[in-house]
Amino acid sequence: MTIAAASSRRTTTALLVGPAALFFLLLLILPLIVVVIYSFGERGPAGGYAPAFTFANYADLPSRGKAFLNTLTLAPLGTLLCVVIAYPLAYFLALKVSDRWRTLLLVLVIVPFWTSQLLRIYAWLLILGHKGIPSLLALIGFGEVRLVNTPFAVLVGMVYGYLPLMVFPIYVSLEKLDRRLIEASADLGANPWRTLWQVTLPLSLPGVATGSLLVLILLMGEFIIPAFLGGGKVFFIGNALVDLFLQSRNWPLGAAVSLGLVGIMLVTIVIYMRFVIGRGSERRMALM
């Protein structure tokens, strides 16, 4: 290629990528930098931001400790429940269903996930509300049961909302698993439980790890589920952020809280990559 041709090729590439680069720069990189700057500022007299350089907002993070605590306990718990509930379903879809039905059943898992989360969580508000399950419980003799505005309701919403996202990675890792290994295990006299525990489960761990990372990250940034099902009682970092930015208008503290959230997510991703996903693939290598 001549020099002129190479440079015109470079110009074309720059023109193609340019608009997207501009968007990322103006609406992702710059805003995140501004958030970092704000987090060292002070609350303005009428709310908002006033320039300053102080660590007070970071020192003040414990004032939102409850939100951090709720997020850091309920999000992992929700992820764990998702794994426990999704695994048998993924196993069923990957190994027990005939090819004819599999595609349809897979599509049916993902369809609710694609519909508006706002509406699905609203529906759970109706189901768990006093005209829903509590009224059925009252019929069989339980007195006043209150489900909405409890950690239980938030957990139900989280598991319901993110179950499809857990089913898929586990399904994929089970589906591409070599069936002959299961047969070999049975031929060598292992009962089905032992085969599941010693062959199938370890081989599908990469799927479990990917799914839980995805779900955990998304759950930590959740706003709608705790807002509806937790009432004002069970709130997450996302809810604290909406309050700080739109109601109490303490933007510098809000900036610090949002950086805290992003920081926790990054640490989670790094830990997962290093220990869980990394070790899972090593084990797979060892088995091969």
């Binding site: 608009p19 990189i29 805003p31 694609w114 509406l119 609203y122 529906a123 933007w251």
Partner: protein
């Protein structure tokens, strides 16, 4: 096993069924069945606030889908030609845009817009005097924030299609003396079409259903999800169910079309590979 799966499918569809069923309730309380009626649909379509927010959501969704698809497709093609650290930076940005939670994207873009407006508005006032145009939050700011996160989605979809594309077709076109633009228009674009259309439909749906980002940058405007959110906060009538049912039907139609296009897409590339 089968029982277990049935129970899960039942629970997955129960909430959706409840929204749809109670949208036909003639009573005015969401969970109190009084008889069959279409009245909440008529009420919803006669509600000026609901219709205004629907119009806003449609405008935002169409512009978002349009811009994200064009910019994203161009970027995916450009990235394919790029090598080295710049491309890695770009890949990193795409994953950041997808991984950073909506709440934080909403906050960051809100702060950025406000900062820019606070800097620009006094200058505008100085230049144009009393009748100066004043920048503020509105439909364009929602579109901007929505394009950002859909851009990443479109790039990923189009790029996976590009990666599965048979490069010999492009070489053949060049050998037959097509200009680069001719090759693009007559070979690359038709091959990319399913991914581009799927990207458009997905961007529209994500934008149409997004609540949290719009909540921060909408200013005084209501998108449909913001309207639904505040209606649920105020108290529930089956009108929300009626609107919700319409939204469900529309977005499911679009999503199933998108999935269909992408599936046909993988089948064709698989077939192409098998033939080769």
């Amino acid at each position: 096993m089968r029982w277990y799966a049935s129970v899960i499918y039942f629970v997955l569809y129960l909430p959706i069924a409840i929204i749809v069923i109670y949208s036909f309730n003639s009573g005015r309380y969401a969970m109190d069945w009084q008889g069959f009626s279409f009245q909440w649909y008529f009420k919803a379509f006669a509600d000026p606030f609901a219709m205004q927010s629907l119009r806003t959501s449609l405008t935002v969704g169409l512009w978002t889908a349009f811009l994200a698809t064009i910019i994203g497709t161009l970027a995916a093609i450009g990235l394919e030609r790029m090598r080295g650290w710049l491309r890695q930076v770009f890949d990193g940005l795409i994953y950041i845009a997808i991984m950073v939670p909506g709440v934080v994207i909403g906050i960051a873009t809100l702060i950025a817009f406000v900062t820019v407006f606070n800097a620009v508005n006094p200058a505008l006032a100085h230049m144009f005097g009393d009748h100066a145009p004043k920048l503020h939050m509105g439909i364009p700011t929602i579109i901007g924030a929505h394009v950002l996160f859909n851009l990443a989605v479109v790039i990923l979809i189009v790029r996976s299609r590009l990666a599965g594309m048979d490069k010999s077709l492009i070489e053949a076109s060049e050998d037959l003396y097509a200009t680069p633009f001719g090759t693009f228009r007559q070979v690359v674009l038709p091959l990319l079409a399913p991914a581009v259309i799927a990207g458009f439909l997905l961007s529209f749906t994500f934008s149409f259903e997004d609540f949290i980002i719009a909540f921060f940058v909408a200013g005084p405007n209501n998108t449909l999800p913001i309207y639904i959110f505040s209606s649920i906060r105020r108290g529930i009538t089956p009108e929300i169910n009626a609107i919700g049912t319409v939204v469900l039907v529309v977005s499911l139609t679009l999503l199933i079309t998108a999935q269909f296009l992408l599936r046909g897409d993988t089948r064709r590339t698989a077939g192409g590979k098998a033939a080769a």
